[in-house]
């Protein structure tokens, strides 16, 4: 006989203000199977949990229902409490009478009535719950970091420092990421390369870190603690173990017309190249789409000159397969394409550039050796106009609905740097709002305005057009309430940033959730900001949301802390709510395996008694509980209903349906 206990939480006034909690508890007392029903101010509090534990022990409860906030909030709390009182933690069900009831209904009568139904539904379910035991799985003590930007570098270094092996997979030929392209960093204006490159070198030299550059994650199987990852090492046509980074090949390479991606395509590079001077690994790579040897079969000059014989035109992509316990995603960002913003004339005017291009134009290692020259004619610009929020906070559908967060600060930085280096230059900034919260950030912006005399104009730019070699920036000045047109030599667009597009593939491989803007979703916006809902996957940097370097570094370190916390464990508990076939009913038709995204289902031939002393051999499904994630796709595919999901069985769900429909 079932002995159900029901606990109704007031959540202070969050529930009690709209739901008559006492009446709910009173009404529920007369439900069949319910032997105990109580209400309390905060069930999740120490005292509330004590109340639950005591009731379990005193009334010998076989299952409990807590009418409280969302199970996404405190299900774990109440399960733990139940377990401590000797009740199987899976004999607990939560009736969500806060988010799904008290918070959305205003009428007390109506909300109370609904709360009763929700609690009854949970009772109907808990009556069919079965005690479940979590299995255990071992933890592979190695972490994978996807992306070798500052986020990945920081996370890898922290994890490696704690004594665990880390692999960094970087799709480009070198680690460093976007930060390596920056000139100065706000708010201190120190040189980006000067603070980044030592960390890159640390990575290369750390005995626990293995950098897999020019590589991509190809396939991920497994689950937290036991990811099995296949990594494609793209052919770079240069033997990484032999190349010394002497750059002789670059001097000799006759194909010099390749666009230099590192410099935002503002100048050219040779087919065989090292992306930039401080690249890690300091190893050349051949762009096979550009290389004459690949295009025509003739050439091979680099091979002749390479003293160590590192050049290998026959190299093929290879695959590395490794086991990891945890994965950090740090895939970074790119500026959005400006195809939808013709009004700014980016495609038509060489002197309309993006902020990241400006970074390269200002950088001593950039295409102009750090001298600010207009891309069109190599002249010093005298009037520079910045346009903020290009594609950010855009609800028209052309750009991104979110704020890219970093643009206000870097525009202030750019404006300031130009005024500092070239005091005769006029600098205007069109902005919608200036958003500079953060330590020393607003001061930084004020300095730009107050000390450096940058002309900030509140208003949007309608159009940028070329008139007699001058860029006419036509916009609104909302404060003076007038239309202004600024004759400029250089226009810089503070382009919105978006997650690096390859993150979609990574998310799919990792089964990590991703939002409509391609940002990976964190487990909880406030309380679990660096964890993906997929166990064992952590998020660092812009792949999770727009952020600047200090924030990225903090998040990366937070990730590292989480990873270390995971890797120090020897064993993990697995989710017991997995699929389970009833072999007596299984047809062995393989349909369930066809829809299983995890390959958790295999088949075996088993002997069954069929009556009359006879047996027959049938092919039946078998689920690996460590691999199954418990989605339930197989349960609906199975026509005989042989496949069911523990914790969400068909009977349980149908009993919930019945309870809801019961008049």
């Amino acid at each position: 006989m079932q002995r159900i206990g029901v606990f109704i939480c007031w959540c202070g006034s969050n529930i009690a203000a709209t739901v008559d909690v006492k009446r709910v508890a009173e009404t529920i007392k007369s439900e069949p199977g319910v032997v105990f029903a109580e209400n309390y101010q905060y069930m999740c509090s120490e005292n509330g949990q004590q109340l639950i534990k005591q009731a379990i022990r005193e009334h010998n409860l076989t299952g409990i229902v807590v009418g409280a906030c969302s199970p996404r909030m405190h299900e774990v709390t109440f399960r733990k409490a139940a377990e401590e009182a000797g009740l199987n933690p899976y004999m607990v069900e939560i009736a969500n009478i806060r988010e799904h009831c008290s918070w959305i209904h205003k009428d007390m009568e109506e909300a109370t009535e609904k709360a009763v139904i929700l609690v009854r539904t949970a009772i109907a379910k808990v009556k069919l719950n079965a005690p479940l035991t979590a299995g255990e799985s071992p933890v592979t003590k190695r972490a994978l970091v996807i992306g070798g930007g500052i986020a990945g570098i920081q996370a890898a270094l922290d994890i490696a420092e704690a004594g665990f092996k880390v692999d960094i997979v970087e799709k480009n030929a070198t680690i460093g990421g976007r930060m390596a392209q920056l000139d100065k960093t706000f708010p201190t204006l120190d040189c980006s390369a000067c603070i980044l490159t030592p960390k890159m070198v640390d990575c290369a030299q750390h005995e626990n870190i293995d950098i897999l550059s020019y590589s991509e994650v190809e396939d991920v199987k497994g689950f937290v603690g036991n990811f099995h990852v296949k990594i494609r090492r793209k052919a770079r046509y240069v033997d990484e173990t032999k190349c010394t980074g002497c750059k002789l090949c670059m001097e000799k390479c006759p194909s010099k017309k390749g666009l230099n991606e590192f410099n935002m395509n503002l100048n050219t590079r040779t087919a065989i190249h090292i992306p930039f001077a401080q690249a890690i690994p300091n190893v050349a790579v051949i762009d096979s789409t550009q290389c004459l040897k690949f295009k025509t079969g003739k050439c091979g000059i680099c091979q002749k000159f390479c003293e160590v014989g590192a050049i290998d035109f026959t190299q093929q992509d290879t695959f590395v397969e490794r086991q990891y316990g945890a994965i950090v995603v740090a895939t970074g960002f790119k500026p959005i394409a400006l195809d939808n913003f013709n009004e700014f004339g980016y495609a038509d005017n060489k002197d309309v550039i993006t902020s990241l291009e400006l970074e390269r134009l200002m950088n001593a290692a950039g295409p102009t050796n750090g001298v600010l020259l207009r891309p069109s004619d190599g002249q010093h610009p005298h009037v520079v106009t910045f346009i903020q929020c290009v594609g950010s906070r855009d609800t028209s559908g052309c750009g991104k609905p979110y704020c890219s967060k970093i643009c206000c600060m870097y525009t202030a930085k750019h404006a300031m740097m130009i005024r500092e280096k070239y005091p005769d230059t006029e600098v205007h900034v069109f902005y919608i709002d200036v958003r500079t919260p953060g330590k020393n950030y607003d001061e930084f912006h004020r300095r730009a305005v107050e000390q450096y005399g940058v002309d900030y104009i509140k208003g949007m730019v309608g159009k940028v057009y070329n008139e007699n070699g001058k860029l006419m920036v036509q916009g609104a000045n909302l404060i003076d309430n007038e239309q202004v047109t600024i004759e400029s030599d250089l226009v810089v667009l503070a382009t919105a940033i978006e997650p690096e597009p390859s993150v979609r593939k990574v998310a799919t491989l990792l089964t990590a959730s991703i939002d409509t803007n391609n940002f990976l979703t964190e487990s909880h916006a406030k309380l679990r900001p660096v964890e993906s809902p997929t166990a064992g996957v952590y998020l660092a940097g812009v792949c999770q949301g727009p952020k600047d370097i200090p924030e990225t570094v903090s998040q990366a370190s937070a990730c590292a802390a989480k990873v270390i916390g995971l890797l120090v464990k020897d064993k993990l508990k697995t989710n017991p709510c997995v699929a389970m076939p009833d072999e007596m009913m299984c047809n062995g038709c393989s349909q369930c395996a066809n829809v299983c995204a995890y390959g958790a289902i295999t088949y075996l031939d088993k002997e069954f008694r069929i009556g009359g002393g006879k047996t027959e051999i049938r092919r039946v499904a078998s689920v690996n509980p460590a691999v199954c994630q418990g989605c339930g796709a197989c349960t609906v595919t199975c026509p005989s209903g042989a496949m069911d999901l523990k914790g969400f069985s068909s009977k349980q769900i149908m009993s919930e349906v019945d309870a809801i429909c019961k008049k």
Partner: protein
Amino acid sequence: MKKIAKAKLNELYAKISESMGLFLPIKRAGEVNYAVWGEGKEVSLETLKTVKSPKNAFFPDSENLMKFKTEGKNIEIIDVRKDYKEEKPFVLFGVKACDYKAIEVLDRVFLADPVDSYYQARREATTIVTLACSKPEESCFCKVFGIDATAPCGDVTTWLDENYLYWQANTEKGEALTALVADLLEEGGEESVATQQEATKAILEKLPFSALDLSRFKPENLNDLFNDPAWEEMSEACLGCGTCTFVCPTCQCFDIRDFKTSEGVLRYRCWDSCMYSDFTLMAHGNSRTTQMQRFRQRFMHKLVYYPSQNDGLYSCVGCGRCVNKCPQHLNIVKVIKTLGGKNDD
């Protein structure tokens, strides 16, 4: 003997329906089954074999027995039987000789002690009007069971020809019904009936199954018949569906089941089929594990077990529905032919 012009039959139905329920063969979505008469319904007396037999007038496909109403922790048991105590009188119209005989088979089951009060209530409230056959077809073999298709019994016997329905009351109930519709009836028709009967008998004589040999189906041969190796082959194509059972006028097995309603549980009984794999399913498992055993059970029951307990009355009336309807053309005729004639001596 009385008669009524075919054209006036609708008036007859309407008259009966004024004070009684009227259950007769009605065509719906292309198929003829017994159903309650109503204005505009397409009556098809000519149909030799309704898909389902009229047995569901007394033994419906499904009927409610009781309710368990739950309120809080209390359960109230509601007996829904009283609904049937005062069964509205009704007329079962157009019953063929075979189907009428089948009612006798059912009566021996449901009216024997303990009496099935549900069945009894409906049985007693019914006046049965039978209809003689005039165009038997090749699957008919009622004659084998001693049934005269041209002169069925019942409270009223009727004959139908191209112009008239002929009417003869046999019982008090029949007389009462005759009195009710007396205004619509006229005298006469004996000759037409006799002519029709003669013609029909000539066809019946020649029917392919008219001379099936049932001699081996005796209680003393039970074991031999049960163990006959032929069952295996006869049943091998059986799908295990319930078609034969559900179209059969004499099959009387039922199951009692519970259904969850919004306020508790509704207990009902419904037709069951011995051909189903969960028939005879018990707590320990199922005593019949193969389709052969189920198939054998059905025919052994019809031809051996039932007659041995019911004065030799077979629980097959030769209506031939199973002959026509079995998806794979297995039927009792093939069983009789295979086993019936084989005498051990």
